[in-house]
């Protein structure tokens, strides 16, 4: 009997936490998912749409050059990925089948550098890593986000969701309170967006530069006066996975322009 109860409890627990696509989008109705672009002024939207004037393309250009450039005696990224990487960024973060680790795009680029090009990993938030990730992400422009949150990714998805829904900082606010419960309303002079990561790496006016999603998450944590995590932290990658699952189907926009 005891064994049966234990089995039932196990089934209940796994039933409660079993990740599924509807669970991911339950926080926002599928019909109300809106990209951060729709909260911008028409002028900023026009700047993002202009493939010449959008300053994010300075990094995309640089990324394209780095992609073709061999590293000492090792082949360039281009040598393996000759056909390009269209649609690939829309599937990240993703479980790396070899190490079983959850990798975001930046992590995947660095893994390629270390294992295949025998080079040192690039520093998170460095111009070179931003350039390469923007170049790869830009090849998925207009592709719908489609991340896998099943199997080994499930626990990371739950970890990300927990981070998103947990109150933190001096202001005692969770991400969810602004970006799920009160999006579209005003926070000082700004309209609160839904907090999707589909435009990152993105050019932010506040930064006067291109920046990664982790830099944005750090800003959000700092905004509620919580201790931000270091860029590239596994917890932030889990949050990235949760955000992508929450925005499933939304078009990729990198390099987007944000306030």
């Amino acid at each position: 009997m005891k064994r049966l109860l234990a089995l039932m409890a196990g089934a209940l627990i796994s039933g409660c936490f079993a990740p599924s696509a509807p669970d991911a989008s339950s926080v926002l109705d599928a019909g109300e998912i809106r990209s951060g672009t729709s909260f911008l002024t028409p002028e900023t939207q026009a700047l993002q749409a202009d493939a010449f004037a959008n300053p994010g393309f300075l990094w995309v250009d640089r990324g394209a050059a780095l992609f073709e450039q061999p590293i000492s005696d090792r082949p360039a990224c281009m040598a393996c990925h000759e056909a390009g990487l269209k649609g690939v960024a829309a599937t990240y973060p993703k479980i790396d089948p070899e190490s079983g680790q959850l990798l975001n795009l930046e992590g995947r680029i660095n893994q390629c550098r270390v294992t295949h090009q025998k080079a040192a990993p690039l520093t998170y938030e460095s111009d070179d890593l931003l350039a390469l990730s923007a170049y790869v992400a830009n090849q998925s422009l207009g592709e719908p986000i489609r991340v896998d949150i099943n199997g080994a990714a499930a626990k990371h998805f739950r970890q990300g969701r927990d981070y998103f829904t947990t109150r933190r900082g001096q202001f005692n606010l969770s991400c969810q309170q602004c970006h799920t419960d009160h999006w579209g309303q005003k926070l000082r002079g700004d309209t609160i967006s839904q907090g999707h990561g589909n435009g990152f790496p993105a050019y932010r006016f506040e930064w006067q530069s291109l920046g990664s999603l982790h830099r944005r998450l750090r800003d959000c944590d700092t905004g509620v006066r919580a201790q931000p995590l270091p860029s590239g932290d596994q917890t932030y990658i889990a949050v990235e996975l949760f955000l992508a699952a929450r925005a499933q189907g939304l078009d990729m926009e990198s390099p987007a322009v944000r306030r």
Partner: protein
Amino acid sequence: MAGIRLAVPSPVHQGEIIEIKALIQHAMESGFRRGARGEVIERNILTRFECDLNGTLIFAADLHPGVAANPLITFHLKAMEPGTLTFTWTDQNGEIWQDSAALEIT
């Protein structure tokens, strides 16, 4: 690093008024900001932009600390003669960045 992006329509008709765009990657640090420890971040700006067509100055602009990072400059030109457009940015220390584009007239 200084990435430069130029947009020059070409070929164009004689007498056509064309729009030219030039974007450069630059911090345009105003000198008024402070870092995390309260220290002044030194001014570092571009002060001059010039565009030449076959060596003749056709457009110039003085830049000041109020200009945002990665300045985008857009101007118009009546295309009368073909040739090479040379774009030159000069910073406060006299360092120069240059790029050029061909202007073809049909």
